[in-house]
Amino acid sequence: MSDSDRKPLKAVGLMSGGLDSTLAARLLKDQGVEVIGLNFSTGFCTYDHHRAIARKGEDPRRLRNVAVQAGAEAQVEVRIIDVSDEYLEMVKHPPHGYGSAANPCIDCRIFMLNKAREIAEVEGAEIIFTGEVLGQRPMSQHHNALHMIEKETGLKGRLLRPLSAQRLAPTDAELAGRIDRGKLLDIKGRSRKEQHRLADQMEIEEYPQPSGGCCFLADHNFGRKFHDLVREEETMGRTVGRDEIMLLKVGRHFRISQRLKVIVGRDEAENNFLERFRAGRWKVAALDHLGPVSLVMGDPGDAELAVAASITARYCDGKGEASVRVKAERYTVAEGEPFGAGQPDRTSVMWVSPVTDESLASMKIVD
């Protein structure tokens, strides 16, 4: 018996918080494998954003972290790891391209599995697992994609997909008899019936419904804003930062010029969210009417600030009036201070006409 045979088998795996990865973790744990779930915080998770923008009184159970919940359900350790800066660089130029929005599904898998492999080395884990199901997703979970991902990550023989394992080539651990292949599954396709049956059997009660909607990058509106931002900023020789990505998640977006964009809040929660990012930017709001908070992304001149004011006026309660009084304030950069802090160091109050729908349409990125 070799040393590796005597040590308990250890696995690290990708745990999104969805049912499939929860079941995958549990299948291994039930075989006596020591399991560590990895949840990579990419900055594009809709659940995290939902929480950041939650309305008062919203049921906190709807806002919980689904990966932590999944770890509790499967009774396996889940580690949340911030990879957002590195992930953003990948998303800007994914080698395998995008899906129908800004979703680089294949490169996302490769990115996360490479990260998992690095952690597996540190942890001494022989297996890397995922909750992937053969044929479940058109872009990243067909047979060729699974094979290609395994090859590109250098995980041949180590990458285990417990839910579809019996339909895939055996891993080294299965071949060595350290994992009982007979206790792994042969699920294929988009049906969720078998997963739900297993969840009942394992008493896994709370899990998010599969919607494919947990990643902003797969959302078409978000994708349009994302591609616009990356294209324009890179043309200007600028680097897209984390705040600019955060701000793609809210509001109506209008491009005034290549170097300037206006984001208009759509409700109180979005207005509050925008306020948190006002430091170092111009904030615009109507003075005499209820209406949105807008942020100007970039450094506007007087004429551009007037356009931003005119757009803001279009969405306030005075939009039917010939002229609306609007206040623009530029906030100081509040380094190290809480969100929303900082004081206005420049203020401009102006009367503007609400922008016409025709003019607005030409500036609209996403309404």
Partner: protein, 96 residues
């Protein structure tokens, strides 16, 4: 402990108040931060404690009252409960 009993205990933990006078060996202030950051910071800081020591986490994100007991069930650390103070919460976790 059966899965069912363990699950029930986990659910009951969400409502558990910390014993009077309980104080952490380490205090972690996460006020102003939203999930998953407070949990990530807790995980990072608790690893520096010895087994049996207690971390005291201050948060103004009410959802942490659900996430922290779940995280403890996931990791095996002991959740000792919370105290509420003017729309902020102090949560106590004993390192396994």
């Amino acid at each position: 402990m059966t899965d069912r009993a363990s699950r029930n205990e986990w659910r009951e933990l969400e409502a558990r108040r910390a014993p009077d006078g309980l104080a952490g060996d380490l205090v972690l202030d996460t006020v102003g931060l939203y999930c998953p950051v407070p949990i990530m910071k807790t995980a990072a800081r608790i690893s520096g404690l010895a087994a049996g020591q207690v971390i005291e986490v201050l948060s103004d994100d009410r959802v942490i009252l659900i996430d922290m007991p779940a995280w403890c069930r996931s990791t095996g650390h002991a959740y000792l409960g919370f105290r509420e103070e003017a729309r902020q919460w102090r949560l106590f976790v004993r390192r396994k």
